[in-house]
């Protein structure tokens, strides 16, 4: 007997909040909007906590909670049904927990903004879709959530839509995601065609027989197409380009959607589909290669960026690459583990960056910062925690998850591991570069002057007048509390991974049929006792190497950006063309513009618009309209109103009929 968990409540609560704020927020006061937004997202978090507390009383196999029948067509059926297992529980807690904290933070960050109610309506709407995504028990409902978070993301990136760059960034995110969604959709069609169902349990249950029947090629195609979908949502090569531009949105949005939750939906989806990927090794290799390349590629760009949010954006892309690397080498639990710790520390870093931006009056260029350490101590210390966590220095959260991924990767191929280590070094380098540039050295900005808010990125219509911007100032408490909580989580969040506890917790999902105890042996399959011990020493060596890489990154950042601030320019100059290429993000946007966007626009303009639309469709319609007009202009003279002419026509007609009949008769 399983207790009824009322999972439907969890997504529904934020939806109610979104509806109330969306419909009535315009005329509500700010405290009322705040109350609605926080109560409903907090209630979702509380419900999630309650569900988590009840979870241990459940026994696998878990059954989906069917709310209503949705589609029935022959034997094919899809239900509105939610499903909870260890994997969705982890996601549930991350989404509601981090989401709730970011809601709190946003109250402070967005207080001055004219679109206050709109912001929280969107944010709650996002929570609704994201929770639908993680709780869905079939691919179609997951897809609804998947598209819904895309919509919320679009709305929030373009939140300051009067600014052209924000509006176009929103469009870019939406369109690039659409390409990925196309792959996802085709994968779903293939699944329907070959499995006759979209329900996770049914599909995964029939994968093994399906492969035995010799359909591995189809399964590989499904896996790769699912990965295309994940590439779009989770900003992997080649579809990562939207994420850095998405930084046009308000910073809490960057933290919640574009760092902690939505972009990890792809990782979640791949992990959820692990049965498919495990039976399609080629697809799994594709996942690993894409993840590795993205991790490295984005990290190199991150080193050269000067916009504090852009650095974090490329860092997110890079860390997502790590997660896919983890999934791609079959260590799905390691990927999810990194997803969780990343949600903590990257959410923290973005919120802290928001606090920095808030402090210096909207400036995002790190070249205009510096020396903020003593002026905004809370932000400084929390950001330090986040930086150490992402750099992978023990005992902070990032170390455990990243180390787990690298260790698992090394067991598959040392190439993955080598690139991973180098990326870890780069990660540490660009994060400490950000840290030194922002908080150390001399202050280089102009925010001391009271006109600082002129440069306030995006706050154009709602400058921080209340704060007066008399100078650099610490953020209000409502923003600091979430920072502190996330900082604590960034420290302790990784400890759940000690002794593989996290992996064991997730093992019913990823290794069904094995108990937690038997996992110890299966962790190193087909190895003897002696190799096992060697394994442990190797693991230790690898761990030391990865920590060393992180420390090396720190040391280099310290050397370049603290000791010798003029050195970076010399290094950049000596690197020449390569540096220029990296600064311009490898010209990927330009290449895409030349290869895809421009031909598309030209083709649409010349062929589809001027050619097909104007010359064929419009011309056909206009022509037939003109023809009808001319024909009726001739025909209308028959309607003379002259009775005798009508009679003449009748007589002529009769004469013709008679003539015809006579002709017929004489033939």
């Amino acid at each position: 007997m399983t207790p009824n968990l009322h999972l439907w409540l969890i997504p529904l609560l934020p939806l109610i909040g979104a509806a109330i704020n969306g419909f009535f927020g315009r005329r509500s006061s700010r405290p009322a909007i705040t109350t609605v937004a926080l109560v409903f997202s907090g209630a979702a978090f509380a419900t999630a906590l309650w569900v988590a507390s009840q979870f241990s009383s459940l026994t696998p196999p878990y059954h989906p909670e069917i709310l209503a029948s949705w589609i029935r067509s022959g034997t094919f059926r899809v239900d509105f049904s939610f499903y909870l297992d260890q994997l969705s529980l982890v996601m549930l807690l991350i989404v509601t927990g981090v989401g709730f904290l970011i809601h709190i933070y946003s109250v402070g960050y967005m207080w001055e903004d004219a679109g206050f109610y709109r912001f929280f309506a969107y944010l709650n709407l996002f929570m609704f879709f994201m929770l639908t995504l993680v709780l869905a028990s079939n691919y179609l409902l997951m897809f609804i959530g998947w598209e819904g978070v895309g919509l919320a993301s679009y709305l929030l990136i373009g939140f300051w839509f009067p600014k052209a760059s924000a509006a176009s960034a929103g469009k870019k995110a939406f369109i690039v995601n659409r390409i990925g969604d196309f792959g996802f959709l085709i994968a779903l069609f293939l699944i329907i065609k070959h499995f006759g169902s979209l329900d996770f349990m049914q599909v995964f249950g029939s994968v093994a027989p399906f492969v035995r029947a010799g359909n591995e090629g189809v399964l590989t195609a499904i896996g790769i197409l699912l990965m295309v979908g994940a590439c779009g949502k989770s900003a992997q090569i080649p579809l990562y380009i939207w994420l850095p531009d998405a930084m046009e949105g308000p910073t809490p949005v960057s933290a919640l959607i574009h760092a902690a939750t939505m972009v990890t939906a792809g990782v979640y989806m791949v992990s959820r589909s692990h049965v498919i990927f495990e039976h399609a090794p080629i697809a799994l290799t594709v996942v690993a290669i894409i993840g590795t390349l993205t991790a490295l590629f984005a990290a190199t760009i991150g080193v050269t960026q000067t916009d504090i949010k852009k650095v974090l954006a490329y860092s997110t892309v890079s860390q997502l690459g790590y997660m896919f690397l983890g999934c791609g080498v079959g260590a799905f639990s390691a990927g999810i583990f990194h997803l969780m710790t990343h949600a903590f520390f990257k959410g923290l870093l973005f919120l802290a960056a928001g606090s920095v931006i808030h402090a210096v009056g909207g400036e995002q260029d790190m070249g205009q910062m510096g020396g903020l350490r003593t002026k905004i101590p809370w932000t400084f210390w929390t950001m330090t925690m986040g930086t150490i966590a992402i750099a992978g220095i023990p005992p902070f959260a990032g170390f455990f998850s990243k180390d787990e991924i690298l260790w698992q990767a090394s067991r598959v191929s040392l190439v993955y591991w080598g690139i991973g280590i180098f990326t870890a070094f780069l990660t540490s380098l660009y994060m400490f570069r950000l840290w030194f540039l922002t908080f150390f050295g001399e202050y280089r900005g102009t925010a001391e002057r009271s006109d600082g808010h002129d440069a306030h990125g995006g706050h154009g219509d709602s400058s921080h007048t209340e704060h007066g911007h008399g100078g650099i100032h610490e953020s209000p408490k409502v923003m600091l509390v979430p920072l502190v909580i996330l900082a604590i989580l960034s420290i302790v969040g990784g400890w759940v991974g000690i002794n593989n506890r996290f992996e064991k917790f997730l093992s019913p999902v990823f290794r069904p049929g094995m108990t937690a105890a038997s996992l110890e042996e299966t962790a190193a399959p087909k190895t003897s006792e002696m190799e096992d011990s060697r394994d442990h020493s190797t693991e230790m060596a690898f761990t030391i190497i990865s920590v060393a890489a992180s420390l090396l990154g720190f040391a280099l950042a310290w050397f370049l950006y603290y000791r010798n601030p003029q050195m970076p320019q010399q290094v950049a100059a000596s690197l020449g063309a390569f540096y220029t290429t990296v600064v311009h993000k490898y010209y990927v946007d330009e290449i895409y513009a030349a290869v895809f966007v421009k031909p598309l626009i030209d083709g649409s303009t010349q062929v589809l618009w001027h050619g097909v639309d104007q010359n064929v469709i419009d011309a056909t319609l206009d022509g037939s309209a003109d023809g009808a007009l001319e024909a009726s202009d001739v025909a209308r003279h028959m309607q003379s109103g002259n009775i005798r002419s009508y009679a003449a026509w009748v007589a002529a007609g009769a004469a013709v009929v008679i003539g015809y009949m006579i002709w017929m008769g004489t033939r």
């Binding site: 109103g641 002259n642 009775i643 005798r644 009679a647 003449a648 007589a651």
Partner: protein, 100 residues
């Protein structure tokens, strides 16, 4: 006995005269008379065929036509009088209120 074609030719001439009068005349009474002429042209061919084939159905038809024509004359003349009273003209070209 007069052969059938003679009757038919006369019938055709009567009918053609009726049609022509109907088409070219403006006076509504003349038009009315032309209609009667057409009807009687047809009647002639009916009785001619009836006599030729020795069957009564043609003559029965003629009686029907005559009855209808009488009724038509009554109604039609009443309409003509009503038109004349209101419009003070019998020229059909001026009776064109239904024309847009």
């Amino acid at each position: 006995m007069v052969p059938l074609p003679y009757y038919l030719i006369l019938s055709g001439i009567l009918f053609a005269c009726g049609v022509t009068g109907f088409l070219i005349k403006r006076n509504i009474i003349t038009i009315f008379i032309s209609i009667e002429l057409m009807l009687n042209g047809v009647n002639l061919s009916f009785v001619a065929f009836a006599a030729q084939w020795g069957k009564l159905s043609g003559q029965v038809f003629v009686f029907f036509v005559m009855v209808v024509a009488a009724a038509e004359a009554a109604v039609g003349l009443a309409i003509i009088i009503a038109v004349y009273r209101t419009r003070e003209t019998l020229n059909v070209d001026q009776v064109n209120l239904l024309k847009l």
